[in-house]
């Protein structure tokens, strides 16, 4: 996945792509200070100390001034990555940022791969794996809510929950292992009913975590939303209107953007991610009906459907047919009656249809409120642990599967060694979340807590 060669110097834009007051470009690696110095008109930063700030001009190979910049110098090992590191603060125009990136790319600096700064930091001993994972989540958090969750995870809330579960399971396994390995000794055997209760408790905790992913996933990745409608209903206009203030300018250099900015709408901290927007923009007249496979797929992939129709030139039968089909798909749907600037607030429009003019931006706020209220997110208890990581989610599901096997095994009196197998699998799955796998803890538990005679 990563280039093993840590000798490279890497560069990337560290602030979000697009226009802003400033942009920060970061270089890390043994040539980072030298190569920056070559194009920097100001102090000789090769001779400067770490943790210093320098004002000057950044020139290109032809000595044209690209921008006035401020340069922060960090010397190995006292930097985020543990390597020599330079941060260039420039004016936040995408033109300037692209020029600076291009300059370095022409001069033996490689574009950083996603997460490579953090990976280097990890490899150079600046942070451990779990911190790295939390940092990744922090970076990818787009809203305050997802930031809060990532911070909670960084502080260890999630791992301690998992660790607790795992410890309970190991205690449980110990009871089983004890009666297996010491069956010839005069030890008391574990009470099956109590064991079942214990597994049920653990299972319900695992279930809670699994359920929380529904929210966590939405919080982290946004609500996949699709706008559909017949030709000329105004899909494209609505999209533009909704995104008006939100849209970011995407860098035009391939590979230089950290994450391709999707077309996203942030309403009070929740991201709505519009899928298949290319389809909407390109094929104005291509979607003939909802029956088209591609449209159906978009609906399947989304958690919210905005169905829009032209209230002025409405074909009632068509619209009713579409709405009925949507109902079958079972995805939460908002129905938007567009072009009320022409049609007026006709009493023929059903009351639950949201009446807007995408063109004149009429009633857009009401639509946004409806969009926000359509999600489950505002119903979450933010004080609990919320799973946001897909890997964690999958491991939790594996763990759950094994726990269900344990319960059915206890019910059908499956021999204890086979039950132990499922417990062990469940512990392994949980352990993989926090990164611990060992058979030692099992024995430690047995010996620490029980009398074994021989």
């Amino acid at each position: 996945m990563y280039n093993q060669n840590l000798d490279n110097t890497i560069v990337a834009l560290s602030t979000p792509p697009g226009s802003g007051a400033i942009g920060v470009i970061r270089l890390s690696g043994k040539n980072s200070i030298k190569v920056t110095n070559r194009f920097f008109l100001g102090a000789d930063i090769e001779k400067s100390e770490g943790y210093t700030v320098h004002f000057g001009k950044l020139l290109n190979e032809n000595n044209d001034i690209i921008d006035e910049v401020i340069i922060n110098v960090f010397k190995s090992p006292k930097s985020y990555t543990g390597e020599d590191l330079v941060e260039i603060s420039c004016h936040g125009s995408s033109y300037i940022i692209n020029e600076i990136l291009r300059l370095f790319l022409r001069n033996d600096v490689q574009i950083a791969q996603p997460g490579e700064f953090t990976m280097r930091s990890f490899v150079n001993g600046k942070m451990d794996l779990s911190q790295a994972e939390a940092v990744a989540d922090l970076i990818s958090s787009k809203t305050k809510i997802s930031h809060d969750i990532a911070m909670k995870q960084l502080k260890g809330g999630f791992s301690s929950e998992i660790k607790k579960l795992r410890e309970q399971l190991i205690d449980f396994a110990s009871l089983i292992e004890l009666e297996l390995d010491f069956s010839e000794e005069d030890i008391e055997f574990a009470d099956r009913t109590e064991l079942k209760e214990l597994v049920k408790i653990i299972l319900s905790l695992v279930n809670n975590l699994i359920d929380s992913y529904k929210y966590g996933n939405v919080l982290k990745n946004g609500v996949p939303t699709v706008i559909i409608g017949r030709p000329n209903a105004g899909k494209s206009t609505l999209l533009n209107t909704l995104l008006n203030e939100e849209r970011a300018i995407v860098s035009d250099i391939e590979g230089t953007t950290r994450d391709t900015i999707e077309e996203e709408l942030n309403i009070d901290g929740i991201i709505f991610r519009f899928i298949d927007t290319a389809g909407i923009r390109e094929s104005k007249d291509k979607i003939e009906s909802l029956g088209i496979e591609k449209t159906m797929k978009s609906i399947k992939d989304s958690s919210l459907v905005i169905y829009i129709y032209d209230a002025h030139k409405v074909n009632k039968e068509e619209v009713e047919m579409d709405i009925n089909e949507l109902r079958i798909s079972n995805t939460p749907t908002l129905i938007v009656a567009n072009k009320i600037d022409i049609s007026g607030y006709s009493p023929n429009i059903p009351i639950d249809h949201i009446k807007i003019s995408a063109k004149n931006k009429d009633n857009i706020q009401e639509l946004k409120t409806k969009i926000y209220n359509s999600t489950i997110i505002n119903k979450i208890d933010m004080s609990g642990i919320i799973v946001t990581n897909e890997r964690h989610y999958k491991l939790l599901q594996e763990s759950k599967k094994s726990l269900l096997n344990v319960i059915s095994g206890l019910n059908t009196q499956v021999p204890a060694d086979l039950i132990a197998m499922d417990i062990r699998q469940s512990t392994i799955s949980l352990g993989e979340i926090t990164g611990t796998i060992s058979t030692d803890d099992l024995l430690g538990n047995i010996f620490g807590k029980f009398c074994i005679g021989k």
């Binding site: 490899v123 794996l129 779990s130 297996l180 390995d181 005069d186 197998m421 005679g453 021989k454």
Partner: protein, 621 residues
């Protein structure tokens, strides 16, 4: 006086005997040196072989061409298959042996090996040239040359025996301790430690009132350890059970002031799971009673072994306490229990072949590596013997993986984790318990022995193939044969299993809990007829393989997943210093152990999961 040997084995206990015979079986010229030819393969502790996890090891040794199983079969006086009420991974053969017969037959077996010479003497040092073992020095002042040396010194290295306040040097009661070897090895740079173990008093069986004791007879249909045609056990002798009570505990407590355990005279670490009786009373003070097993020592003696009553209290206290046990009111003691301290070498100094990293062609096996138990010792001896032969013949080493054998788990644990207390095998130490069963040890290991060229493996393979064919034939029959509700529902009713409503294939029926061939045979005459033609052991293996196939597959998948880490090799000269991100402890351990693979690295204690992630990232995964 002596030729140059291929392999010198020092010590003739369970490890030494298997080591000598396995090297000899491979074709090496072997010299077996022991301090006392009368005590070859002595059972210093209880007269029993096998048990949970240990019985599986004996069957593995047998499948690989070792002799512990065969000799147990010939000399046992009682056999029990433990844990039959549990799943097949737990079924564990255990036998009471006749102590003298066992030792005698081992000696005879070794003497019948043309490739083995014997010498009674005490080895005081290893001849080491350029970091390679070249032979041994003995107390008689002779130098004997060899291409390799296997040390299996048991409890003899600087052994000290404790009974109450008395203490004296010795490797076993009435036997001298071995001096000099530890000192030389430490001088060579080896790290040594101290461990402790103990035995209970031996009682005169004529003075025990068996009538009031609970009897523990052998199995009605005793099986055997060996996969070869060893004789069936005919006349069995029972064990008996008695219990301590608070009165016995109180008597024992009167000796605590003089107990070497509590006064600090014993510094070696003893096994937590095999504690002395005084330890049990002290540590588990809330327990008013402990179970004791009265194990017969043999057919031709009244001597019995009081299992569970291991003690180093003064002999008069032991005696008084014994006399207060139920059934022991008039008991006489043959000899008191004692504790023994001895040197061991932390096994993290070894490779997977049990060769030391410090001195080439020098191998350690058995208690010298910090293990306890005849079975653990014998398994190591076998592996050391085979590998000594392979090494001097410049052949690839023979290493068993964790999903292949308990012996593999044992050695892998020892060399990677080391051990702070005498290491005993448990089934829970194995991740892949359902793969490592007693019934399939031959299927797992005999092909490997055959590929190595172990003597006798050829004939063993004939049986392995018969067994596999039997399984295939039975499987085919079950897959093709359906049963009707009328045929089977009566059986289902009797065990409250839900009745059939239509015809179902037999292979599905077998999957039901509480259903096995024995029950099915009674209901289905055709199946009974088919099975009548087959060997009973083959049927058992087939039944388990088919009935538990789902579980077996699952564990195989898990093993394969983990084995991927075993395939990522680490160069022996890998410089761990250049990875700043390794934890301090992790780096130290990695440098010391020098793991061959990432998988092995992951099992080293002190190497954390994030250390492994660092290695993986560095290796480009």
């Amino acid at each position: 006086m002596f030729p140059e040997y291929d392999v010198i084995v020092v010590g003739a206990g369970h490890a030494g005997s298997e080591a000598a015979s396995s090297a000899a079986n491979m074709g090496s010229k072997v010299l077996l040196i022991t301090m006392n030819m009368q005590n070859i393969a002595q059972m210093s502790c209880n007269p029993a072989m096998g048990g949970v996890a240990k019985g599986q090891i004996i069957r593995e040794i047998d499948a690989l061409g070792g002799y512990s199983g065969i000799i147990t079969d010939h000399t046992m006086i009682q056999f029990r298959m433990l844990n039959l009420s549990k799943g097949p991974a737990m079924w564990s053969p255990r036998a009471q042996s006749d102590r003298h017969e066992f030792s005698n037959l081992w000696r005879k077996t070794l003497e019948l090996q043309e490739n083995i010479d014997f010498w009674q003497d005490m080895v005081t040092g290893i001849i080491v040239k350029n970091g390679v073992a070249k032979g041994v020095y003995t107390q008689l002042g002779v130098q004997i040359k060899s291409k390799s040396v296997i040390l299996t010194n048991g409890t003899f290295l600087n052994g000290i025996i404790h009974i109450g306040e008395k203490q004296f040097g010795g490797g076993r009661i009435q036997e001298r301790a071995a001096k000099g070897l530890t000192e030389q090895l430490v001088e060579l740079g080896f790290e040594a430690g101290r461990m402790k173990t103990g035995t209970p008093p031996r009682i005169d069986g004529r003075t025990i009132n068996y009538k009031v004791l609970e009897e523990q007879p052998g199995d009605k249909n005793p099986k055997r350890f060996s996969f070869t045609n060893t004789p069936e056990l005919e006349k069995q002798i029972s064990c008996h059970i008695t219990y301590t009570d608070t009165k016995v505990h109180d008597i024992l407590k009167t000796g605590f002031l003089k107990s070497p355990m509590f006064t600090g005279r014993i510094q070696g670490v003893g096994p937590r799971y095999c504690p002395s009786i005084e330890d049990k009373i002290e540590r588990f003070s809330s327990k008013d009673s402990h179970q004791l097993f009265i194990e017969p020592e043999g057919r031709n003696t009244y001597e019995v072994y009081l299992n569970g009553f291991s003690s180093s209290l003064p002999e008069d206290v032991q005696y008084k306490a014994v006399r207060n046990l139920k059934g022991f009111e008039n008991a006489k003691m043959f000899r008191p229990g004692y504790a023994i301290e001895y040197d061991y070498f932390p096994p993290t100094q070894l490779t997977h072949t049990l060769e030391t990293k410090r001195v080439k062609n020098l191998f350690f096996a058995g208690q010298i590596n910090g293990t306890t138990g005849y079975e653990e010792a014998a398994g190591q001896g076998l592996i050391a013997g085979i590998n000594a032969h392979l090494k001097i013949n410049k052949r690839d080493s023979f290493v068993l993986k964790r999903d292949e054998a308990y012996i593999g788990v044992l050695i892998d644990d020892l060399i990677n984790k080391g051990t702070d207390e005498p290491y005993r095998m448990f089934t829970s130490r194995a991740e892949y318990r359902i793969l490592l069963r007693q019934d399939n040890a031959d299927i797992r290991l005999t092909p490997l022995a055959h590929a190595l060229g172990v003597k006798g493996a050829e004939e063993r393979m004939i049986k392995v193939n018969e067994k596999l064919n039997t399984e295939q034939e039975i499987r085919t029959y079950l897959n093709q044969t359906s049963v009707t509700p009328a045929e089977i529902n009566k059986l289902f009713e009797s065990i409250s299993s839900s009745p059939l409503t239509q015809k179902v294939k037999l292979n599905k029926i077998l999957l039901r809990p509480h259903i096995n061939f024995n029950k099915l045979r009674r209901a289905l005459p055709d199946l009974d007829m088919l099975l009548n033609d087959y060997n009973e052991d083959y049927i058992e293996y087939s039944e388990i393989s088919i009935k538990y196939e789902g579980y077996i597959k699952k564990e195989k998948e898990m093993a394969n997943k983990m084995n991927r880490l075993e395939e990522i090799k680490i160069h022996p000269d890998f410089d761990y210093h250049k990875l700043q991100s390794l934890s301090y402890e992790g780096r130290e351990k990695l440098i010391k152990i020098k793991p061959d693979t990432i998988g092995q690295a992951s099992r080293i204690s002190g190497v954390s999961p994030s250390d492994i992630s660092v290695l993986l990232i560095f290796m480009g995964r």
